[in-house]
């Protein structure tokens, strides 16, 4: 089956970029990951057999690249995580002109917490709630049984719930603006 690379790119780039965005957590890495996905498509387009839909095949490439990048740059990401966590959301932490705003948007979203989950749960949540795929499609992309997909989604949401609860407890223990006792000033 011969693929029209240009047409496929035009049709599916936006959705692959969106998935890359929630996987990476920042627009500059998402651009690279999405473009690399289509570079792989251009190189391996002849390998597409047509047994599945093209977008599930593209998601498979995207997730493989994401796993590879996480392995390769695991240490770098851990270091960046330290910087990330130590910076307030109003400071510039990226090379872009609107870096502070870009980082702040992502840090506010739930996907910043999803990034801390194990790969299997994280990818299942991305495909289900960002991309809106059916369980069967997710099982095909992740190459695992249907029950595993449902289990990963269920337990991923549970883990996310626990993360938010822990954050809530921490924020209650460390109020951002401790109330001042002004009675001595009267």
């Amino acid at each position: 089956m011969r693929l029209d690379i240009d047409q496929t790119t035009q049709e599916h780039f936006a959705r692959i970029h969106r998935a890359a965005l929630v996987l990476c957590g920042n627009p500059w890495d998402a651009d690279d990951l999405a473009q690399e996905t289509f570079l792989v498509l251009a190189g391996q387009g002849g390998a597409f057999q047509g047994r599945s839909s093209i977008y599930t095949w593209l998601y498979g490439i995207l997730l493989n690249l994401d796993r590879r990048e996480r392995r390769r740059y695991g240490m770098r990401r851990r270091k960046l995580r330290v910087i990330w966590d130590s910076q307030p959301t109003t400071s510039a932490t990226s090379p872009g002109a609107n870096a502070a705003a870009e980082v702040a948007e992502w840090k506010k979203s739930l996907w910043a917490r999803v990034a801390n989950l194990p790969d299997g749960q994280r990818q299942a949540l991305v495909l289900r709630f960002s991309e809106g795929l059916r369980y069967e499609e997710i099982a095909e992309i992740l190459e695992c049984p249907l029950g595993t997909v449902k289990s990963r989604i269920f337990h991923g949401l549970g883990a996310l719930r626990r993360l938010l609860d822990e954050e809530g407890e921490e924020s209650r223990q460390l109020p951002a603006f401790p109330s001042e006792d002004l009675s001595h000033a009267v």
Binding site: D6, A14, D31, S109, W111, F129, F154, L160
Partner: protein, 144 residues
């Protein structure tokens, strides 16, 4: 004690009829929030316009022109300008170059007939020029 490992399977997710996940209210709300956040992020950071392969080839040619041909033309242009602006070199007189260096103001009409123009007074210099005018066949040269 006998080694008897037991695999602990994770809790099976609750399912409703049709195989759909039966999510508790808080988890279902989290799922909806994830969908909304993904849509919001996609709106904040839209994908850049995609170039087709043909456009990519065109832009590759433009890049080639910008990075290779451009500097080459600039270097060529600078070389031409420098070449044009160089002062015209006087032609080298090989016989003069081979001659022994002499004082700048020494006139040597013939070998052995050297007159220093510096030592001549004004009337003497005038007389010398008159003599040269009267005898145009005589070969005379002035060296500096």
């Amino acid at each position: 004690m006998q080694f008897d490992p037991k695999l602990i399977h994770p809790e099976e997710p609750p399912l409703i009829a049709g195989g759909e996940l039966d999510l508790p209210g808080d988890l279902a709300a989290l799922g909806e929030q994830l969908s909304a956040d993904a849509a919001h992020l996609a709106a904040c950071y839209p994908a850049a316009p995609v170039q087709s392969a043909a456009a990519g080839r065109s832009s590759a040619w433009k890049m080639y022109a910008a990075f290779v041909l451009g500097p080459s033309l600039a270097v060529l242009l600078v070389a031409v300008i420098v070449w044009q602006s160089l002062p015209e070199q006087p032609s080298v007189d090989r016989t003069a170059a081979a001659a022994p260096a002499t004082s700048p103001a020494i006139a040597t009409p013939h070998a052995g007939d050297t007159v220093s123009l510096v030592e001549l007074s004004g009337p003497e210099l005038e007389a010398l020029l008159d003599l040269l005018d009267r005898d145009p066949d005589r070969v005379t040269s002035i060296s500096f």
